[in-house]
Amino acid sequence: MQPTREHLLWMYEKMIEIREYEETMAKVYLEGKLPPKIQKGLAFDIGAGPVPGEMHLAAGQEPVAVGVCAHLGDDDSVVGAHRSHHFAIAKGVPLDAMTAEMFGKDTGLGRGKGGHMHLFHVPTKFSCSGIVGASAPQACGAALAARKLGKDWVAIAFFGEGAANQGAFHEALNLAAVWKLPVVFVCEDNKYGISVEKSVSTSVASNAIRGAGYGMPGVLVERNDAVEVYAAAGAAIDRARRGEGPTLIEVKTDRYFGHFQGDPETYRPKGESAALRQDDPIVRLGARLRAEGLIDEAQDQALRLRIAGRVESAFAFGRNSPYPDPQDALKHVFAE
């Protein structure tokens, strides 16, 4: 399945937006966390600064998000994991409210109660979770609901290669296959579960092999490439919409930053991240678009400027929004 011109341009734009967002967050996150502003002896203060807490960035993994989400509408569900900014942006979650959530502000998606690992946006059916492996069962539920409601909606579970060793993965894939649910399981193999290499954690070279164990297609996308992800995801999503059941896809992708910001990355060969950036999927798609005459240099520059403005505006919104009233911590435990 080859992307249309519109989808190629959309994927390109969204990848730039995701990259811009993550590179911006990488810098903003460190505000107020590094010496000399913090007490002596600390290398890093995770709870300080305007964006406190952990921060898992997805720069390098953009092809997975856009290659899948290009096929989705608002009625399709996406459940992500702890590293999910790219999925949220590609699914169309509003940038302002998402950023405000990471700043812990009252205007955030969860009014400051979730933070960056727990983003919920009901209108685009997006959610994510800080628990490794938790997305797969919930995507099954969304897919089950689609079938019960008689809709051709699909659900996507995104998770990392580390999550494929969780019991939840096994249970969810079996359930999806037994019930023939319209769900696609998309595994991002970025080579590391925090610091642990896949070869140390996983009994098979590719999780795609595991699809056979559940009686569902297992597809390996060997290159961190939006067009290749698009093709594999398109086939799987069409199959799901036709009522033919689930598919497992694994994409070999690249994580440019550490597991979280501030990760010393001692487990990683020196220069690995810089080398990965030499094979940047955004640069590659840009070159193709220019070669095919879909975009020229001036349009590319203008696009990048527009995106930078959008991201800057979202960060300004997050930064300038008010904090919630401390008493609001007691609200929303139960629905009214």
Partner: protein, 355 residues
């Protein structure tokens, strides 16, 4: 089932009442469906879904693999889409294999979404011991769920309440853990306390959460309790009445929300309180009620220190005499009440010494 066709009131077991409630709500609301292990042809190991497969078919009475994480997570996902799943956790003891989906997601996602998301899920689960099923199939554990913010916890003691509380649970927009004690379900293969099988109207009715029920009115001692222990307390109260001790039995019915006002009103009246609980003693329901009373000693005058009866912080043992020893029985409840009647608070002792 015994019926009185004129009034539409029949005598039902708790299991029959629960299945009837689920069936009536499924008739009313097509978004309600049930998932779980052996809930179809078998009708639920504890008969909570008997007859429903024939009426509603396998698309709404969904047999699951033995995969609690998968179907509890699927309940979260389906509820987020606006459906109202009922997910049966066969024994509450099995929560260990799927608690992440329950307490990290089902209980918290509404909060973390700032109220944008609603998750109307009912978890039905069998609790309790007394039939020698040992440490992994005999626990109550309702306090463990109650400890986690975001879950409502229902613990009925009889068929009438079970029906009304189940209907309320299904209509609630929040996750509800509905704990039915196996020893009051009225099963044909396990002896049960007959007080749990009672008159149940045919029509649907809802019992609001957070409203305790005075099972028996009394003036000397309040027994605060739930579930099967309500039936034991009622028997103990009857025995104690022969000795001239007037016991008030308060059935909490739900522990989240907790009827704090109801507890305080009863204890203020009697001045003595025993908490009879089949869950573990420490850090649980009995401590919570004791703390509640302690926090109100400016308005309540106790005539004796608070007393607690619960499983004394040991796993439930298999052997009959061992199990009977750790799960509070009718005699233990009666003895505890007698001890309360003998006890005196320190201010009375001091007054006595001065006199």
């Amino acid at each position: 089932m015994q019926s009185n066709s004129k009034t539409g009131v029949r005598t039902l077991t708790m299991a029959q009442a629960i299945a009837e409630a689920i069936g009536q709500e499924m008739e009313r609301d097509p978004s309600v469906f049930v998932m779980g292990e052996d809930i179809g042809k078998y009708g639920g190991i504890f008969s909570a879904t008997t007859g429903l497969l024939d009426r509603f078919g396998p698309e709404r009475i969904m047999e699951t693999p033995i995969s609690e994480t998968a179907f509890m997570g699927a309940a979260v996902g389906a509820a987020a889409e606006g459906l109202r799943p009922i997910a049966e956790l066969m024994f509450v003891d099995f929560f260990g294999v799927c608690f992440d989906q329950i307490y990290n997601h089902m209980a918290k996602n509404a909060y973390m979404s700032g109220g944008a998301l609603k998750l109307p899920v009912v978890i039905t689960t069998g609790i309790g011991g007394g039939y020698n099923d040992a440490a992994q199939h005999s626990q109550c554990l309702y306090a463990s769920f109650a400890h986690m913010p975001g879950l409502k916890v229902v613990v009925p003691s009889n068929a009438y309440d079970a029906k009304g509380l189940m209907i309320q649970a299904i209509r609630d927009d929040n996750p509800v853990v509905f704990c039915y004690h196996k020893g009051i379900m009225g099963l044909s293969w396990m002896s049960y306390f007959e007080g749990s099988t009672n008159a149940v109207p045919e029509e649907a009715y809802a019992i609001p959460f957070g409203e305790s029920r005075i099972v028996r009115d009394g003036r000397d001692v309040t027994i605060v309790t739930v579930s099967q222990m309500v039936q034991k307390a009622a028997i103990a109260a009857e025995q104690l009445a022969q000795e001239g001790i007037s016991v008030e039995v308060l059935d909490l019915r739900t522990i989240v929300p907790l009827d704090r006002a109801g507890v305080l009103a009863s204890v203020a009246k009697t001045g003595r309180v025993l908490i009879a609980d089949e869950d573990y003693l420490s850090f649980g329901l009995s401590g919570e009620i004791a703390a509640l009373v302690a926090e109100h000693l400016d308005t309540i005058q106790l005539r004796a220190p608070v007393k607690r009866l619960a499983v004394p912080d040991v796993p439930i043992p298999f052997s009959r005499p061992l199990e009977q020893a750790v799960i509070p029985q009718v005699d233990a409840i009666a003895d505890a009440v007698r001890a309360l009647m003998r006890a005196q608070p320190i201010h009375q002792l001091q007054q006595g010494a001065q006199a």
